[in-house]
Subunit: 236 residues, 2 copies
DNA sequence: CCCGCACTGTGGTCTGACCACAGTGGTCAG
DNA sequence: CTGACCACTGTGGTCAGACCACAGTGCGGG
């Protein structure tokens, strides 16, 4: 019993409320002052709990009044995980190489899995959106950061075809967390136009393989695509 | 420009300090009062930042005085991620089925990868430890929760053989986050002694395959092991 | 020499206050 | 009656200052 912090009461309470379905995504939490009274802790402690929930992507709080104000339960694990990942990468506890490898693993397996998924409007919509993204990325003179953002989005879309929310979330987190490093690498590259062109060719190859349900081909193309690009950086 | 919260200054500062190596794991942060003065924010805001970092597994703070007191930079992503995962599972945004599938994916791929890793004292130590865990789990009358804890530890150890910290971390998080659900499922099982016996047989089979570098066999055994056990629950 | 206790600085918590913000509802001019 | 306007109210965001428990530190007495 080493010091159960005051705010943990709220976290435990929320978890229970969520599990039992009393509160679900989209609903509002009671006001901070109300929670403080209810748990007999200070508002400062309540706020610490809210901060933690916010950092986890479980809650979004807004000022003002009316229905849109207050702490609303959301579920955005990927942005929160991405943030946490970035910080842990900064500590150098998580080597970039391992990140890339993990990402490769998730993405190739997702490609293999998506091969087996039945056709659906959802699937067609995703493929369509992915194709559009690629087209946008062909825009001449597109800023590198826009390119990378669309690039990340493209990969996440492909992963989502596997239909596994958890895998998709992990992919999104890894991607968002590393996008800064990607930009850093590329900014030191003189041959960016050629590189982006090659990347686009690879993207189209992957998309084509996925569309035609050639899972093995897609996975292999992804592997080549990712390792090739990662090889451009100096990994110091 | 929508309201940059006061405490984000500290988060950004810490990330920078970590990336540039000014601060690294194991070192202490300045005191809360000092940080408050340095960033010209209130101590309450500083504490919110520390809370967030704490929730992310980046910092551990302790009371008292001397070198052991204060906020120390650590790097324990797995416990933090596990906590976040559990909460998001509670919101039902992350279906258990997807969690199990993701875990299966990571673990089988890790088994395939570990096949290729060279021998090393590290590897031998891990295999030894895994074997010991299995022996402990054979103890008659072992409480179910102890069994599951060792079980989780066993799987994480196997995953660590692949030598990828990120994959290992994700596995550990998934495992820790779901352990509660596992216990819930098992507690409604009357044939637990038989089940645990079967699980142990499967564990030994997996360990044997890994030890002998039969990656495919290990992966297949893991797949069977996990899907079989997951099949015992009713997935409502 | 060693034991014990006051001292000091740390995080943990609380109180009470003020601010900016955004809906709400009333008022008043047209 | 209709519309624009504005004070009101409740929300989160921030702050200042205080007190507590805790754990090392170091001085003092035995």
């Amino acid at each position: 019993m080493p010091a159960p912090r005051a705010y943990t009461a709220i976290l435990a309470w929320l978890e229970d409320q969520l599990r039992t379905g009393v509160i679900s995504v989209g609903e509002k939490l009671p006001g901070e002052r109300h929670l403080a009274e209810q748990f007999e802790i200070s508002r400062a402690s309540v706020r610490e709990a809210i901060r933690v929930l916010d950092a986890m992507g479980l809650v979004r709080s807004a000022t003002g009044s009316g229905p849109s104000a207050g702490a609303v339960v959301i579920s955005e694990p990927s942005t929160a995980l991405a943030w946490a990942l970035r910080m842990h990468i900064a500590t150098q506890a998580l080597p970039i190489g391992d990140i890339v490898e993990a990402r490769l693993l998730l993405e190739t397996q997702a490609a293999l899995e998506s091969e087996k998924r039945p056709d659906s409007p959802e699937r067609r919509r995703i493929l369509e959106e992915a194709a559009q993204l690629l087209d946008e990325m062909d825009t001449p003179g597109l800023p590198a950061d826009r390119f990378h953002e669309s690039d990340a989005q493209f990969h996440i879309l492909l992963t989502s075809l596997a239909g596994n929310v958890v895998v998709e979330t992990m992919m999104a987190s890894l991607r968002e967390a590393t996008i800064g490093y990607v930009q850093e690498t590329v900014s030191g590259l003189e041959s960016w136009p050629e590189v982006s062109c090659t990347l686009q060719e690879q993207h189209r190859g992957v998309l084509q393989a996925v569309r035609e349900r050639r899972g093995e081909d897609a996975a292999e193309a992804l592997r080549h695509h990712i390792t090739w690009f990662y090889g451009l950086s100096d990994h110091r």
